[in-house]
């Protein structure tokens, strides 16, 4: 793969990378985020506490909260379970080579499956990386995530791209070392680094749930 690998690098640079739709945050909104990014206080009236801290009325705090939820700055106000403690010790990043014209429709359908936690369209880098749809699944056993992969496959079976007849550099793909699968599941075998993303105290740059 070494000879042609540089192809996908230049291809990669040409792709639109996610530069966010950054809304202008007011100072008040920034303060709201700083006060709550570690969590909501576990007291009977958490928004009253926030109102006091921000020096505004609780009605205004509730309106700000609704607005954040509506605009998607806050995805939801909720509990995040620890996968491992709940027995969900297995996760698989399933990847699929979906025909472009069907990618959006079927991406939405895969995203609606209850066991899928993240679902994105990403660029292919042919010939080494032919997968454009990524869906993360979680389960309590290896068999469970295998089953989920099969369920996604059932959904996508008619829209997967068959590249077995394609040629690479004049050679049939089957004669190269480059994979010709329509899908795969990448299982994480080790966490090498994990840090949270936070809103900085001084400049409001970033924070939040992993969403890339």
């Amino acid at each position: 793969m070494s000879a042609s690998i540089s192809q996908y690098k230049s291809h990669a640079k040409a792709q639109p990378v996610t530069v966010s739709k950054k809304p202008e945050l007011s100072e008040l909104q920034r303060q709201y985020i700083l006060l709550t990014q570690n969590g909501l206080p576990l007291i009977p009236k958490p928004y009253d506490w926030l109102a006091t801290e921000l020096n505004i009325s609780v009605e205004e705090v509730l309106a700000m909260t609704d607005q954040f939820l509506k605009s998607g700055v806050i995805r939801r106000i909720a509990a995040v379970p620890n996968h491992y403690k709940l027995g969900y010790k297995f996760n698989g990043m399933t990847v699929w080579d979906v025909k472009d014209e069907h990618a959006s429709k079927f991406g939405n359908a895969v995203g609606k499956l209850p066991f899928v936690s993240h679902c994105y369209l990403r660029p292919r880098h042919l010939p080494q990386w032919n997968y454009n749809l990524f869906a993360m699944v979680h389960g309590k056993t290896p068999e469970e995530i295998d089953k989920y992969r099969d369920q996604i496959k059932d959904l996508l079976v008619d829209v997967l791209q068959d590249r077995s007849k394609e040629e690479i550099d004049g050679k049939p793909r089957a004669d190269t070392n480059i994979n010709i699968k329509t899908n795969d599941m990448l299982i994480s075998t080790q966490i090498l680094k994990k840090t949270g993303l936070r809103l900085k105290k001084q400049d409001s740059q970033k924070d939040g749930e992993q969403n890339v």
Binding site: V17, K22, Y47, L62, A78, L186, T189, K194
Partner: protein
């Protein structure tokens, strides 16, 4: 064979029915109102004080890793991408060190694929993403597979107990 030999103290927190109900319910979200825990208590036939105590317990036993607003990182500006490297196994440790030393690398996972290292790059700008990728390529002499999201279909995690 016997439990006498169990040196590891098992401090597994036994989830009761209310714990499980709350975990399932609270993953979906908390209502936006002045007394959200009282509202939850109504739904599960309990009291505000018990609901708050249960959530405190679930957090302190790390059964819940967070509780509160989930911010969409992308909304605060900056640029993000998911990238991968195909690292020869004998170089894996060395390349891990090189990649992890960049403060812009937020997460990094080893995965069972030819592309065996997958990491998230979080920066202030698109230009900085390109710079980090260039530097990683120069230092490792490996090509980075860059797969930024083009479209998002779903983000959320619901793990029923």
């Amino acid at each position: 064979m016997s439990s006498v030999n169990t040196t590891k103290v098992n401090e597994e927190y036994q989830l009761d029915k209310l714990d499980k109900t709350l975990i399932n319910l609270l993953q979906h979200g908390l209502p936006v109102c002045r007394s959200p825990f009282a509202a939850i208590a109504d739904e599960v036939d309990s009291t505000e004080a018990i609901v708050i105590e249960k959530i405190e317990n679930l957090l302190s036993h790390k059964i819940l890793s967070r509780f509160g607003p989930m911010y969409d990182a992308a909304c605060f500006g900056g640029a993000f991408t998911l990238s991968a490297l195909a690292v020869p196994e004998e170089r894996f440790e060395e390349v891990t060190k090189t990649v992890n030393k960049f403060e812009q690398i937020a997460h990094n996972y080893k995965r069972n694929n030819k592309f065996n290292m997958w990491f998230v790059i979080a920066t202030e700008s698109q230009q900085e993403i390109d710079e980090v990728i260039d530097e990683i390529e120069q230092e490792t002499q490996l090509n980075v597979l860059n797969t930024p999201k083009l479209e998002e279909f779903y983000v959320g995690l619901y793990l029923p107990v």
